[in-house]
């Protein structure tokens, strides 16, 4: 047995979270540190578990909708959208064209809002404080739009079965136009502060690198997967809700590092803006709510619908036993799956990079714990 001496070093185990300013909620990471180098990282989740999936087994299909606002509360609109697409698929309900377009517009707004929040927190994690407040300024505008249409800012309960709650309020279209005229310039502002900043480059390039093949093996999706150069976007691969009618590009990265994922999300905001522009320019007239039975009783069977959420592929697997309540709802939360890769990504990096990598995965604990 070796004699322990004064100069022996041992691995330091540090609890990062659940109360830590940059674990984006209540994530707890058990870090093993050798000096500042990460030897191992273990995620402990579940601090925000509310049993959303179980609750919805005891609610009718329609009453279940608001619960999905609360899984990924940053992208509440996308979550409800994904669930409703699943339910409408089960029932074979047709959604009027105007409602479909407005849904796409609002989902893209939600994507922008979500990416803004990501950029804000990611930047402040790396120390760029000003970007944080700039992003919140723009996000505020989007939340105001949400409020005027949905009546709420965060947990929006955005859509209803077969369409929308009500048509766009007066002045909404003008507000949207104002926003998308201004927004690209605001994105330029963020890029001015970050994209070519030497410190930002040093902090993000070559950090948390993952190859395309490995990313697929880990089941990653969304910007994290595309950052590694894999061209997979559900909106293009399996268009839903009318996305095939709009033109947009899917930005791809090359190196699969934190910087590439940053560039991709920035570009996605611009592309979302482009989609919104097309929607608002060619918005058809007509009803915003189709015909749907008062109680939904889908036929016995299993259904799976998936959409491209801001964080990746968001899937809803719904099993019906023919009653008014689903037998089982299983959410495929994109960040729950990308969080698995955290250990693989942080090993060998430094303590400070753990923050950058958690940021780049864009996790939302509400969605991970459900």
């Amino acid at each position: 047995m070796e004699q322990a001496t004064v100069l022996d070093t041992k691995v330091l185990e540090v609890n990062m979270g659940p109360q830590h300013p940059s674990t984006h909620g209540v994530l707890r990471v058990k870090l093993k540190l050798d000096g500042e180098k990460v030897v191992d990282a273990d995620c402990v989740i579940g601090y925000l578990h509310r049993g959303v999936e179980k609750i919805s087994e005891n609610r009718s299909y329609i009453n279940g909708v608001p619960y999905y606002d609360r899984t990924d509360y940053i992208a509440a609109v996308s979550n409800v959208y994904g669930y409703l697409l699943g339910v409408e698929k089960m029932m074979g309900i047709e959604v009027p064209e105007r409602a479909r377009h407005i849904r796409i517009m609002m989902t893209e707004f939600n994507r922008i809002a979500s990416h803004l929040l990501w950029l804000a927190t990611h930047a402040i994690d790396i120390g760029a404080m000003t970007v944080f407040l700039y992003c919140f300024r723009e996000r505020e505008e989007i939340l105001k739009l949400f409020e005027s249409l949905f009546g709420a800012r965060l947990t929006t309960h955005a859509f209803r079965v077969a369409g929308l709650w009500k048509d766009l309020p007066a002045g909404f279209e003008q507000a949207v136009r104002d926003f998308i005229n201004e927004f690209p310039h605001r994105v330029d502002e963020y890029e001015q502060l970050l994209t070519n900043n030497r410190i930002w480059l040093a902090r993000t390039q070559g950090i948390g690198v993952i190859s395309g093949e490995e990313a697929i093996d880990w089941g990653l999706s969304g910007p994290v997967l595309r950052g590694s150069g894999v061209d997979y976007d559900v909106r293009k691969a399996r268009p839903y809700g009318g996305y095939e009618e709009f033109e947009f590009d899917v930005p791809l990265g090359e190196n699969g590092d934190t910087y590439d994922r940053y560039v991709i999300r920035i570009e996605e905001m611009r592309q979302s803006c482009r989609i919104i522009q097309q929607v608002i320019d060619g918005l058809p007239d007509g009803p915003v709510r189709g015909k749907a039975p008062r109680t939904l009783k889908p036929a016995v069977g299993e259904y799976f619908s998936t959409i491209e959420g801001p964080r990746g592929e968001l899937g809803y697997y719904i099993v019906s036993d023919g009653s008014v309540q689903p037998f089982r709802v299983r959410i495929r939360p994109p960040t729950f799956i990308s969080l698995q890769a955290l250990r693989r990504l942080v090993k060998g990096h430094l303590m400070a990079d753990v923050i950058a990598i958690i940021g780049t995965l864009d996790i939302v604990l509400g969605e991970i714990d459900r």
Binding site: E36, G127, A128, M129, T130, N197, L350, I355
Partner: protein, 366 residues
Amino acid sequence: MTFEETLSIYVFIPLVKIVVIVLILSGAIAYLTLLERKIIAHIQVRLGPMRVGWHGLLQPIADGLKFLLKEDIVPSKSDALIFTLAPMISLIPAFVVFAVVPFGSPETLEGPLRWVLSWFLEAGSVETVVQNPIASGGFVTDINIAILFVLSVSSVGILGVILGGWASNSKYPLLGALRSSAQMVSYEVALGFSIIGVLLVAGSLSLVEIVQSQQESGLWYVFVQPVAFILFFICGMAETNRLPFDLPEAETELVGGFHTEYSGFRFSLFFLAEYANMITVSAVAVTLFLGGWLRPFPNVEWLGFLDVIPSVLWFLIKVFIILYVFIWIRGTLPRFRFDQLMEYGWKIFLPVALGNVIVSAGVLLL
């Protein structure tokens, strides 16, 4: 020199100066926090403190009161004595440095001093006292190793950070303390070398004489030693733990770094120490490179009208400008990573500083 004259030159007048400087400095530190919050707020398109007093002017007082009223917590597993001492160790040196920093020219106080002393002393003694720069100068004292004094005293402040982190007996503070010791060691070397350039040109270690030699040459040393100035500025930023070098406290990584376990007034002492150090570094930078109390282009005749502004005010204006740049940088840049910081320190700043010393020595020799 009579006993009364000696007493007033070396005891009473310095004592009054010390009290005034400490009071003004405390106020300045408190209001620097407000200034920073205001400037950063405006950079970030918001208003900053607005509620306490007009445009938040009473905010620092409210903050100080709040800190005083907080519960005094010493973690049970900490080393209580060192835990209590550490904040003081980090704050006091920042004040001590100002003993040698010249705020104004050696004649600053001549007029007021003559008036005040005429109440106590005979006319002859008044002249003797007033002619002595230690009495009438805009500084507490002028020692011939002032710059070494500044360096050594300010490095004591770093001890406070290390001890505080160590005594907390907790992991995040420990990491913060380790970071800070490594950071300060690596940047102090480059800082010292950047100063040598100035010393070579000025030929003196006394801060007052350095400023006077800038007056004689008619050029601020920032124009003579631009590289040294940039190095000094960057290393000074690292010394004061300011963004982009605020690694020891990096709140998004190490929660609070070395002061994670501190709360209440002890925490506020650390907080004030950071701001005090900012002022110290700015004051030293102004003295060494920006001509201290001198007006711009001190030897250009037609700019004489600028002398309307007293020397102390010139000094304060320059310090303010440097402080503003400090704050501005904080509002703009992200944070370095630890290893990158060390790399910059040892691989870039130190060689450049050394090269600067060699080049300036060579030029002077020729």
